[in-house]
Amino acid sequence: MAQNTTDMNNQNTGNPVLSVRNVSMNFGGLRALSEVDLEVRPGEVVALIGPNGAGKTTFFNCITGIYTPTDGEVTAYPKTGKRKRANGVRINGMRTNLVCELGMARTFQNIRLFPSMTALENVMIGRHCRTKSGILGAVLRPAATRREEQEVVDNSYELLTKVGLEKLANEYSRNLPYGAQRRLEIARALATEPFLLLLDEPAAGMNPQETEELKQMVIRIREEFKVSVLLIEHDMKMVMSLSDRIYVMEYGRIISTGTPKEVSEDPQVIRAYLGEDDDA
């Protein structure tokens, strides 16, 4: 365990896995993001917080290819894969599926599972970009395809065990309880073998106990899969105890950044959350 921690520290000093420089996003005349800078280093849990409508989800959409930022640079530094390059891969405007293939997998604020597929199949979809059997393989089913298919099933089941859903493997995902759906989304994202996990409000709608379990799970996943995590979250208790660093966003700008302690003492952050103090 101690070894592990030093590893993590060493990694922290290295290159970032995701670096966002000066990113702006305009929707017509509306400036949703304005010159955002953000960095995620290997093995880190970074949280992005801010009041509703601050632009957090827009930011997520910008770095996962759903939107193309109007301005600025989003660069990823994948550890492996054919797209690995020393100076990183520029991903603004890249197709969403290629961003995922690169190793940045996300979950959604309003859960987006495939409702009439089973939990296991949902995770198996995540394996899609890491497997390659085509039409001919599907029809003729040679040994290689059969092996690949069985590996997909086994890997997916293993991931379900990791998030504690193995008993619900053959259940339609629409029938799962809310908390389980959230965890299933994380398992599905993990199936794509990401180096960076992007969680959009994973604890939304969860009770305190579920939130605590989720927190433990994120910590476990980070250790086990050696992933970095960037999360958007409103639950302050979870954010403060889980993240290594926090970025605070308001009106599309980053207004503060630092460790949880630094951020929570920042007067600008307090003002953003609690409003201006009239007596001052």
Partner: protein, 410 residues
């Protein structure tokens, strides 16, 4: 218990009574009053009112009872989280019964032309063509969720490919069959590219337009397609240069179709349970999540369009060879709608459902000919009834149950 039953019956009877009184009142002028303008008399046929009232009361009672049963069944199903498997589907999925059943079905199909008339065989060939068309459209609509209302265009492409090549270059059936498939796929991709960004209603409208364009081109470009008069004297499939009668030709085409149907079932069933089939399902369920999970939407969509169109092109060639005459009137929107109805009534995504749907929709109007003018009425009523009582189609698409290697997963 007895009390609730009583109340339930009273409720039903009251509903049916209201419906019957209302309907009797509505039909009063046409059913009861008869005005004779020559004799200047008015006859009141009160017996008709009684017939109407009794008839509508009985029908309404049956209707409400069935609706009620359905609603209660639905409510029960909503409460259950575990999917209920009906006894029939359990029976069908048990390999001990399924294998002999399939073998039996195959034997019946293989022996069919020897025991039944030319007429019956011909009908069955048509039905089988629609089985393959239905399975092809099932890939696009049922699996990938891309509503294609112009599917018949690819069917026309296949048919005209054979007709024109045969007419001008005397190319045989077997040479054109793969060519028809390839051209079908080509047109599938041609349609697929511009509609990649569209979904739902918009996709339906564009594909509808595409189907019309192909038909209009065939109708109006006389130099190329011989216009509405069509192309006749198309060769039947060749059999090592042997000459044979019309009856033998039908039997021959029957066996060709049987082989193609089996091939199609095999291919679509395997595709459905493959990595690509899963990607299609994900695409149908949630396009954004699907792409965010690393599936190339463009590829998956084009593949679905192309594969569906391939089968339609293939069937077009068979159709031209079977009828020996084609014209644009065979490829109207009505055909597209029919094939779509096969997929939807049969059960979207279910291979067995689509097969049953095709047989039902093709054979029912044929065998209802005895009822002459009422046949389309009965046909329509059947379709409405299926949609009301089995909204997911005759056979619900079943998800594959995966075998998990616990040791490997442990």
């Amino acid at each position: 218990m007895k009390d609730t039953l009583m109340r339930y019956v009273v409720k039903l009877v009251r509903q049916a009574l209201v419906a019957s009184i209302w309907l009797s009142f509505l039909t009063l002028p046409i059913m009861v009053i008869r005005v004779d303008t020559i004799e200047q008399t008015v006859t009141w046929r009160w017996m008709h009112l009684a017939y109407m009232a009794v008839g509508s009361f009985v029908l309404a009672l049956a209707w409400y009872a069935m609706m009620d049963r359905r609603d209660r069944g639905q409510a029960k199903k909503d409460l259950e989280t575990v999917e209920r498997v009906s006894a029939l589907s359990q029976f069908l999925s048990d390999p001990r019964f399924a294998k002999p059943l399939m073998a039996f079905g195959f034997l019946v199909a293989a022996a069919f032309p020897w025991f039944f008339s030319l007429y019956q065989t011909n009908i069955l060939v048509s039905a089988m063509i629609y089985v393959v068309l239905g399975l092809g459209l099932n890939i696009t609509v049922g699996l990938a969720g891309l509503l294609d209302l112009g599917y018949v265009a690819f069917y026309a492409v296949g048919a005209y490919t054979y007709a024109l090549l045969n007419h001008h270059f005397h190319l045989g059936f077997w040479a054109v069959l793969p060519l028809g498939a390839v051209l079908g796929a080509f047109f599938g991709i041609l349609l697929g590219f511009p509609v990649l960004r569209l979904r739902g209603d918009y996709l339906a409208i564009v594909t509808l337009g595409f189907g019309q364009i192909i038909r209009l081109v065939l109708e109006n470009w006389g130099d190329f397609s011989y216009g509405p008069s069509g192309i006749s004297n198309i060769d039947r499939p060749g059999l090592f240069g042997i000459n044979y009668s019309v009856e033998q030709a039908t039997t021959y085409i029957y066996y060709i179709m049987l082989a193609l149907v089996i091939l199609t079932i095999f291919v679509t069933a395997r595709l459905k349970d493959s990595r690509i089939g899963r990607a299609w399902l994900a695409l149908r369920e949630d396009e954004i999540a699907c792409q965010a999970m690393g599936i190339d939407n463009t590829r998956a969509k084009l593949m679905a369009f192309a594969l569906g169109a391939t089968l339609a092109g293939l069937m077009g060639v068979v159709f031209a060879a079977k009828t020996t005459f084609i014209n644009p009137a065979s490829f109207t929107f009505m055909e597209s709608a029919m094939i779509l109805a096969i997929v939807v009534l049969g059960g979207m995504g279910s291979v067995l459902g689509v097969i049953l749907g095709a047989f039902m929709l093709m054979l029912l109007p044929e065998y209802l000919r005895a009822f002459s003018e009422y046949r389309m009425l009965i046909f329509g009523a059947t379709m409405v009834l299926i949609m009301v009582f089995r909204p997911e189609g005759l056979v619900r698409a079943k998800r594959k149950v995966y075998k998990i290697n616990v040791e490997a997963a442990g």
